[in-house]
Amino acid sequence: MNVPQNLLYSKDHEWVKVEGNKVTIGITDFAQNQLGDVVFVDTPAPQTEYKAGDALCSVESVKAVSDVYAPVSGMVVDVNEELAGAPQSINEDPYGKGWIASMEMTSKDTDLKALLDAAGYTKLLAEEA
């Protein structure tokens, strides 16, 4: 499984890329592989506030529906509109073209501490396997 070093991870298999006060969010390589072919992404509404742990949106494969949880608290500032026409980007490029949304954090210090680094997430995957 691909677990890039420069990202943070939630226990629910979301990845988080931090740039200042802004984060970009997607689901991990492990998560997309577990789901199988993604056929539909119900992206969150921009300018909506979420608390860390809230259901942000859902990702559906042929056979399964999986909720994506907000890994941090804050406002959704951008969503990946390309996923409407190309949901398979989540399978093909989960850390790139498959990004789901970006958020402006409201409680950066506490929220980021609760996330795992690449080593911690790799360990989590080993335990779940």
Binding site: G36, D37, V39, F40, D42, S58, E60, S61, V62, K63, V65, A84, N91
Partner: protein
């Protein structure tokens, strides 16, 4: 995960099959290629399915035909040796026990192939009906393996492995004493995908050798091992019913749109009178095809709405990979069951626009 293993279980694991529990069996929902790639392989080249979980029950004896005529809604009096016929099997109240295939080997000798999850209840139900006839039932499910080679390249692949006259075999006909890759088997031109193809039955102990021979023969033809996931999306595009979804104890074959397999002019069969009455009175609900216009994927059990009320529920919902659309089959109140009618599907609390369309969603070019 708990469940029974088919003789091919280890082969699936080695091939990267993702194992799930289905009807009490551990089977691959997909392999490495994924459901959509596997689906497309069956539509354009070929796929090989392990369907060894299916149940095989022999009905033998001088009154085997009379037994089948009583047990099943279809008519078997004109079934020829080497011919296969589909039928629903009903309870006395017209609700559906299962749907199945009947193979005629000879007068007084038939093989009945049933759904895996229903083997035990089917067996009990058949025994009850059989008590009034000179017929002996034998459950051969455990000793029998079955693989389904499906897709436009299926014949070409099979011909590399057999001298049996497979090309001349008509749809819903079978060769009782075929040989594939040197293995004795029943070769049946049937399937559950809407494509040309074969269902091949052999002794459980020969299943691995048969599987590997077919995979090797199909290597240059685009053959993929294919799992339960695409088995469902393939049958769904063709609107073939799946027991527990479009058919159930509460959904009669008439409601499922299978009237052509219910011969009400037969004098008697299990469920005859209630089905005649249901037809005369008018069906309360019917299984209809639906295309989603709004965004979202319908799933089994989601409510279908019109005029601000619930008028039915989704029996199967999924993307239809060949169409590139999200489709559904749904049991809908007859008053609303008209092609072209606008409905909404309640997808986790959100009403998504949809329209009733013709079945099947996909039909192969002849």
């Amino acid at each position: 995960m708990e469940g029974k293993k088919t003789p091919l279980y280890d082969v699936h694991v080695a091939a990267g099959g993702r194992i799930v529990e289905f009807g009490g069996w551990l089977l691959p929902v997909q392999y490495k290629a994924g459901i959509i790639a596997e689906h497309k392989a069956v539509r354009t080249a070929a796929g090989l399915f392990d369907v060894s979980h299916m149940g095989e029950i022999w009905a033998e004896g001088p009154e085997a035909l009379a037994f089948l005529q009583q047990l099943l809604t279809n008519d078997f009096t004109d079934l020829a040796d080497g011919q296969t016929r589909y039928s629903p099997m009903c309870y006395l109240d017209g609700g559906t026990v299962d749907d199945l295939l009947v193979y005629k080997f000879a007068n007084g000798r038939y093989l009945i192939v049933v759904n895996a999850a229903n083997i035990d209840k089917d067996w009990d139900w058949m025994q009850k009906t059989a008590a009034a006839f000179k017929v002996k039932l034998t459950n051969a499910s455990a000793a029998t393996a079955q693989v389904a080679l499906q897709g436009p390249k299926a014949l070409k692949i099979l011909q590399k492995l057999t001298t049996a006259p497979a090309a001349g075999l008509g749809y819903y006909h079978f060769l009782p004493e075929g040989e594939v890759a040197g293995i004795k088997c029943i070769i049946s031109r049937t399937g559950y995908t809407g494509e040309d193809g074969f269902e091949i039955y052999c002794d459980a102990g020969k299943a691995v050798a048969l599987w590997q021979a077919i995979m090797a023969a199909g290597k240059d033809e685009g053959l993929l091992p294919t799992g339960l996931g695409c088995r469902d999306t393939l049958r769904f595009e063709c609107c073939m019913p799946l027991y527990g979804h479009e058919l159930s104890e509460k959904i009669t074959p008439l409601m499922a749109g299978l009237g052509m397999f219910v011969k009400l002019d037969k004098k008697a069969f299990n469920g005859h009178d209630p089905l005649v009455a249901q037809k005369a009175k008018g069906l309360p609900q019917r299984v209809m095809g639906i295309e989603l216009i709004g965004r979202g994927v319908a799933r089994h059990g989601f409510p279908v709405k019109a005029d601000g009320k619930v008028i039915g529920s989704v029996t199967t919902g999924s993307p239809a990979p060949t169409l590139g659309k999200n489709m559904a089959l749904a049991l809908i109140d007859t008053a609303y069951a008209k092609i072209g009618n606008k409905v909404a599907i309640d997808i986790r609390g959100k009403d998504v626009e949809a329209v009733i369309v013709k079945k099947p969603f996909y039909k192969r070019a002849q």
